[in-house]
């Protein structure tokens, strides 16, 4: 009788007016299933859930998701098919796309578990019903189920039926169905034989590539890649390349954008010969496209495509267009180029990189738009591995200093994050002569996020160069901030101490930093005093016991008697640690 209560409670909650209660009930449905056990779950819970027609999308969405994990709860694969009816209802006619998508995902999960003998009568029958459903929603959902079904079927006749039915979806009247079919088509093609692709897929492919609706034609590009992977070079030349080239010259910039975005996949699918002979021209066309969005997408692929074609072609065809992009009107194009162009260095080799890329690199480094400059600097390691950094450090440094003093704090923040990398590559000398002042000036920046990042940065630099160096060079200068009249900057000192302590070790901490912290116990601002308490609290595990007893505890005891409540609180917390 106890077992009746969970389901009765669930029924009540699922009828609740309050959406949140219904939602929570649905999310706990797996717990109920566990309590009921597999048989009762199958016989009572699932039929109940099948009839549940809620109107809140959130609830339906949660239900769709939960049911996907029910295979074990209903007794394993043998019974997996009992989960199909409620999911079918959810996938067929709910208007909200996100609900249908979850239902399709769950159907795929369940479909995987359905035993092969019963696949045809259950999962495949479901697909057939959805594919011929009256509502476009069911046909759209059906498109997402073919892959799993096809993969699991070994019977040739059934496979043929599935293929035929899928092609019908590709030719559906409603654009959204065609679009869904086109989206799931590439993955499905990987399961077909070459003959099937040549004889059956190609006509459908051509049909979709001529679709009126831009949103369907967009999908052609991935199809090109999928088909190219199956066919031989010769066959791709005949069947796929013409369509791909059409897409490159499509009237709609969105289609051209898709080509640019998927260019590398297309290139590797079609193979090096076709890339050399035909795709290079297309790529250059896209780099010069009239629409900035397309040029941006193409600029992002410079590195990737460079790996697919021989060096001479890169230099002869791609580099000239790339040079034009350095002066492109749109900063997004230039920023995309900057994030990518250095990736060509390994493909070109040292000599050619010096000849061709360095000018581009320097041009972008002087760009007025900070993101462009930042993107170049972030890719420093690519160029360092090919060309030594010394060559560029002269031009690099002014750019870094510029960015470090940019009016926008987010730009300054981004530069700080590169400093440790630069330290590793440029070495101690460079840092000391050029960068150390910069790093320390950031500790006094007007923006807190910068001061915080600067302290973290100091720690990372100390990690790169070692505790001895930190002790002699960094710590004295960091600590000098403690005399600043504005308490916010004195706080930075304390924060830096907390960061540096683990890096420099207990001795250096005790001798160089602790005395100062102890002095700040007498600071006039309570915020400083309780931060001292917090700092000491953090330092305790890092120091020798003797030091803790002799230096830390007295300081904390003094703070424990402070007039300010917060100071007392934090120092008492610290004292508990200090035992």
């Amino acid at each position: 009788m106890e077992e009746l209560t969970p389901i009765a409670l669930l029924i009540d909650q699922l009828k609740s007016e309050d959406t949140q209660i219904r939602l929570n009930a649905v999310r706990r449905v797996s717990q109920i299933a566990k309590a009921l056990g597999p048989e009762r779950t199958r016989k009572e819970l699932i039929p109940f859930l099948t009839e549940l027609v809620d109107d809140e999308d959130e609830v339906l969405s949660a239900l769709s998701e939960e049911l996907g994990n029910f295979v074990e709860l209903i007794g394993g694969s043998e019974f997996a098919a009992t989960l199909l009816p409620p999911l079918e209802a959810l996938a067929a006619s709910v208007e909200e796309t996100s609900v249908r998508e979850k239902a399709v995902n769950s159907l795929n999960k369940v479909g995987q578990s359905v035993p092969s003998e019963s696949l045809k009568d259950t999962f495949i029958a479901l697909i057939k019903r959805l594919s011929s459903g009256d509502w476009f929603t069911s046909r759209t959902s059906a498109a997402g189920l073919y892959y799993v079904a096809y993969q699991k079927t070994s019977d040739e006749a059934t496979k043929k039926e599935l293929r035929t039915s899928f092609y019908a979806l590709c030719r559906d009247d409603v654009p959204m169905v065609r679009r869904a079919a086109a989206t799931h088509f590439p993955k499905l093609i990987s399961l077909f034989t070459k003959e099937q692709v040549k004889d059956e897929v190609l006509p459908v492919f051509v049909f979709l590539s001529n679709d009126d609706q831009d949103s369907v034609r967009l999908m052609t590009v991935e199809l090109c890649a999928a088909i190219g992977r199956v066919l031989s070079q010769e066959e791709s030349l005949q069947a796929v390349l013409p369509v791909a080239l059409n897409c490159v010259s499509d009237k709609s910039w969105r289609v051209r954008y898709m080509v640019a975005d998927k260019f590398c996949e297309l290139g590797s699918a079609l193979g090096p010969e076709l890339c050399k002979a035909h795709l290079v021209n297309s790529f250059v066309k896209l780099l010069r496209d009239s629409e900035a969005e397309v040029r941006t997408a193409a600029a992002f692929k410079v590195e990737g495509f460079g790996k697919l074609i021989p060096m001479e072609l890169i230099i002869k065809n791609v580099i000239p267009s790339v040079k034009e992009l350095v002066k492109d009107q749109s900063q997004h194009v230039r920023a995309a180029l900057a994030s990518n162009i250095m990736g060509l260095a390994p493909s070109l080799g040292r000599e050619k990189t010096l000849e061709c890329l360095v000018d581009i690199f320097l041009g972008l480094l002087k760009d007025e738009f900070p993101d462009v400059r930042l993107n170049i600097i972030s890719k420093l390691d690519s160029i360092n591995s090919v060309v030594g950094i010394d060559l560029l450090s002269q031009s690099l440094l002014p750019a870094i200093v510029d960015l470090a003093e940019d009016k926008q704090w987010r730009v300054r923040l981004a530069i700080i994050e590169f400093i440790p990398l630069l330290c590793k590559q440029l070495g101690v000398q460079f840092f000391e002569s050029k960068l150390s002042n910069l790093c320390l000036s950031w500790l006094g920046d007007s923006v807190f996020a910068i001061r915080e990042a600067a302290a973290l940065n100091i720690k990372k630099v100390a990690e790169v160069f070692g505790p001895e160096w930190a002790k002699n060079n960094i710590i004295p200068r960091v600590l000098s901030l403690y005399t600043h009249p504005n308490y916010l900057y004195r706080m930075t000192t304390l924060f830096s101490v907390t960061q540096l302590a683990p890096v420099v070790g207990p001795d250096v901490t005790a001798t160089s930093m602790l005395p100062l912290v102890a002095r700040m116990v007498d600071d006039s601002v309570p915020n400083i005093r309780f931060t001292v308490a917090k700092t000491l609290h953090a330092l305790i595990p890092l120091l020798d016991a003797a030091v803790v007893q002799n230096q830390v505890k007295p300081a904390l005891n003094k703070l424990a008697e402070d007039s300010d409540r917060d100071v007392k609180y934090y120092s008492s917390l610290a004292l508990q640690q200090a035992v």
Binding site: L14, K15, E51, L52, V53, D54, D55, D57, A92, S93, E95, E96, T97, D134, W135, F136, T137, V174, P175, M176, D212, Q213, D214, S215, D250, K251, S252, W253, R254, S290, E291, A292, E293
Partner: protein, 392 residues
């Protein structure tokens, strides 16, 4: 085609109710439903039950009045536009409704919740998505794309592209705001998508020009616009600038023609010839002598809608004294009608001649809609909606 008044919905003719002034009407694309939007933000839906007879189906409050704190202006709840989604769902229909600043996607659903008592035939209405904060100026148009997934909304200076699935982002595809606002000379008055091409839309301007944009050329569609205008406008008068402002623009259902309504005329262009209209129909030339008066009391700024018949052979628009005109496109032959409420005790006129004397400028048919079932049309005047059935 002979038109007969079949049904009238509305309230007592002697009481003119400000709140219940009809501000938008629309048949759904399958001819099953008629939606009516009101000044007070309510939407009423009628359903086609048997043989072109409509019965009350649903009512809901679509928009509330709001206050824009930044500009210290009230945002009215008046429903400017209603557009039904073409796709049919099981037991559910969806529509977009819009006031000056916000567009909402409404779901009308007949599906019942388990365990609930019967809904007594009334559907449940629910606002599924709210598309807001994208217009600095007042929205004048909403139009759905044939791809079934996107729509545009237009205000005085911008046209935005939305996805039905996502109310967090909107893309401006037309922006005619000048850098210096004092140079502003032209505003957008109406915009609509092509009936079946997913990448074209047209918008009309206050200067009497229709622009056609192709979304394939660029992300921001302002270059390569085609302009449909009148090459040799005749009879330019002192008020031409005002009367040439277009209040509505529509593609024909077969996609071959563009029609625009300005204050005095309906102009029709062939899509392939933008230099000059194919035809210009005078809607109410008899008010031309009165233009000065009409300018003085702002009546010259009245806006009228226009629409096509589903077979693209006729066009219709409203006029004053509750009149409306249907033109046969091929011949230009007008059919004049007057929407007269059978309950109206006031003096009746011959309802098939244009009203040229004692024109009542307070009574006008500004909102009209023609069902995809060719023999059914509806027009709204004041608080009333008049449904006409046609016979050949």
């Amino acid at each position: 085609m002979k038109w007969k008044l079949n049904q009238v919905f509305g309230e007592d003719p002697s009481a003119v109710n400000e709140e219940n002034i009809i501000t938008s009407v629309r048949f759904d694309p399958h001819g099953d439903f008629l939606a009516i939007g009101y000044q007070c933000g309510q939407v009423v839906v009628f359903k086609n039950t048997t043989g072109d007879t409509f019965k009350f189906y649903a009512q809901f409050e679509s928009h509330h009045p709001e206050f824009d704190f930044l500009t210290s202006l009230e945002i009215e709840e008046r429903i400017n536009k209603i557009r039904w989604l073409k796709q049919k769902y099981d037991g559910t229909r969806m529509m977009l409704t819009s006031n000056d600043k916000t567009i909402k996607l409404w779901k009308l659903s007949e599906r019942k919740k388990r365990g609930e008592a019967e809904n007594n035939g009334m559907p449940k209405t629910q606002a599924k998505r709210v598309f807001g904060n994208a217009h600095a100026y007042n929205i004048n148009s909403v139009s759905l794309c044939s791809d079934g997934e996107t729509f545009i909304s237009a205000d005085d200076l911008r046209v935005n592209l939305w996805s039905l699935e996502d109310n967090k982002e909107s893309f401006t595809c037309i922006d005619i705001k000048p850098t210096n606002m004092s140079e502003l000379s032209e505003v957008i008055t109406s915009a609509t998508f092509h009936p079946f091409l997913c990448n074209q839309f047209i918008y009309s301007s206050s200067k009497g020009v229709v622009y056609q944009a192709d979304m394939r050329t660029n992300a921001l569609c302002e270059s390569n616009l085609r302009c449909f205008k009148e090459s040799n406008p005749s009879g330019k008068s002192f008020f031409s600038e005002v009367t040439s402002s277009m209040s509505d623009v529509q593609y024909s259902p077969d996609g071959r023609y563009i029609m625009a309504r300005d204050y005095l005329n309906l102009k029709i262009w062939d899509v392939n010839n933008d230099s000059s209209p194919l035809a210009i129909y005078n809607v109410h030339d008899h008010i031309k002598p009165k233009l000065y008066e009409l300018y003085e009391n702002d009546i010259i700024f009245d806006k009228f809608e226009c629409c096509w018949s589903p077979d693209s052979k006729s066009v219709m628009t409203g006029t004053y004294s509750n009149g409306f005109v249907i033109f046969d496109v091929a011949s230009g032959e007008p059919t004049h009608m007057q929407a007269v409420n059978p309950r109206d005790k006031r003096k009746r006129r011959n309802a098939t001649l244009p009203v040229t004397e004692d024109i009542n400028f307070d009574e006008k048919v500004s909102h009209i809609t023609w069902s995809s079932k060719s023999d059914l049309l509806a027009c709204a005047a004041g608080n009333y909606i008049y449904l006409y059935v046609g016979n050949n």
